[in-house]
Symmetry: C2
Subunit: 254 residues, 2 copies
DNA sequence: CGGGCACTTGAATCATCTCAAGGTTTGTGG
DNA sequence: CCACAAACCTTGAGATGATTCAAGTGCCCG
């Protein structure tokens, strides 16, 4: 037992061998910069479903790079209801919204057992002050987070339930594809309630829309398992430029 | 005539004397850093109502700090319809979403005659590489833009027309107040259509809601002129934490 | 003075929500 | 291994807030 623990803690963080390199911070950094980056990364133990990485209002200390699994980020309303800002997949950075004023602006909760790399922000910032390439990469990542949010706003702006769900699913497969997973069949790690919340709909409407898509031969749905039968049909239903569906990302990262 | 032009071009940009210092990039920078920042700032001629600072798809070259006036940022849908991401007031930075991939992600259009400072990004970045304090300020600004977007999502998530409009107005007066303007009476620089679009409603619904607020004694409205009669009543209608209304800012900056 | 634009108001329609009930899966303890 | 509870999902019927369509007013600008 103790050996297991020791072995686990002894794992060297090697961005250079990580399959998510091109999606994560290392993108665009050279070998020597990467080596320095690796020295500051910590790896906490895996996060179980429902467990939180940080909470709304927590002191902001670290950014988190998702290695495996998935998260949702949300805030609680006055009445205790959640509002979900985004779902996050491996390679994405969580916590960016906390940089601004030193407090996390959302809660990040694991949708399934997940693992993350922790990047203590003071050390990351210090390193970025010395490595322009790392600095620029951080700028790019933050800017993209802003751009993605615009696209979520597009989605929520003035669209029907069908358009929203179709766009959501297309975005999801597109992001899964980038991570080397199937773009035809996948498992939703979030509940209908979560999807509804994110899309500004009710649970029932999401459920009905899934059923409708199935009747229309666009999808085959079995609880959390979704198979896309007619991608172009789905794109038509989404009713927006491929540009949009291809770039719609997660909401601001906690 | 030519003297006018020459005089205009000769105006020295002095962040140190700018009243927006505390809202804009200079916040937190010391004298010497500010002097260096001033050297790279350009001031284009004033932008007339309807004129665009940059357009969706344009090559990203500069950030723009708004000195006076106001802007909206939006994207065009396939059918030519706009989707407005935000309204921008003096001291705010436009164009942040373009850093990520070198293209502007939205169009920035002046709602009234406005003036801006242009910050060529290559020079700004180079300077930030040398001045950690400037760099950190840029990080803060981008992070806050992400955080603000979360709050817009909260607003659009699941709220009635009344809640949305009340929250919108409260946010606006709050931002105007920070700029030393009246928090009881102000002029809307955007049309009902723009507000509707931003809030995910129709023009008619916004108009009706204004009328309703007036009947309820919350506001006095005369075309674009709005006077707030019952701030706390409006807060109640907005139905969200003061925390939220106080921090809801503009959408991602173009 | 006239034309256009922004805004207001009304009535009917519609998409989504709400409320309610039932079904399935999963996990837990006996 | 079974019974049971909890969580999740589906489906239906009725209610409702917002939209759509339509008409009309007032203001600004040429």
């Amino acid at each position: 037992m103790s050996t297991t623990v020791i072995d686990f803690l002894a794992i060297k963080i090697a961005c250079r061998q990580c399959s998510l390199q091109q999606l994560c911070i290392p993108q665009g950094l050279d070998q020597t910069d990467l080596e320095q980056l690796e020295t500051l990364i910590e790896r906490p133990s895996p996060v179980q479903r429902g467990q939180r990485l940080f909470r709304e209002g927590d002191r902001f200390r670290s950014l988190y790079a998702l290695r495996s699994g998935s998260f949702k980020t949300y805030c609680l309303g006055e009445d205790g209801s959640e509002k979900i800002f985004g779902f996050h997949l491996p390679g994405e950075l969580l916590g960016l919204a906390g940089v601004g004023d030193g407090r996390h602006r959302a809660t990040a909760s694991a949708l399934e057992t997940s693992s993350v790399c922790e990047l203590p922000f003071d050390r990351l910032q210090k390193l970025a002050d010395q490595l322009p390439s790392l600095n620029h990469q951080l700028q790019r990542i933050m800017s993209r987070a802003i751009a993605r949010d615009q696209e979520i706003l597009l989605l929520l702006g003035d669209r029907t339930a069908q358009e929203r769900l179709a766009a959501f699913l297309l975005n999801l497969v597109q992001r899964l594809g980038k991570r080397g997973l199937s773009t035809r069949e996948f498992n939703l790690s979030m509940t209908r309630q979560d999807i509804a919340n994110y899309l500004g709909l009710t649970l029932e409407t999401v459920s009905r829309t899934f059923t409708q898509f199935q009747k229309d031969g666009l999808l085959q749905v079995d609880r959390r398992l979704v198979r896309i039968l007619d991608r172009s049909g789905l794109t038509t239903v989404a009713g927006c430029s491929s540009d949009f569906t291809s770039s719609l990302g997660p909401s601001p990262q906690g």
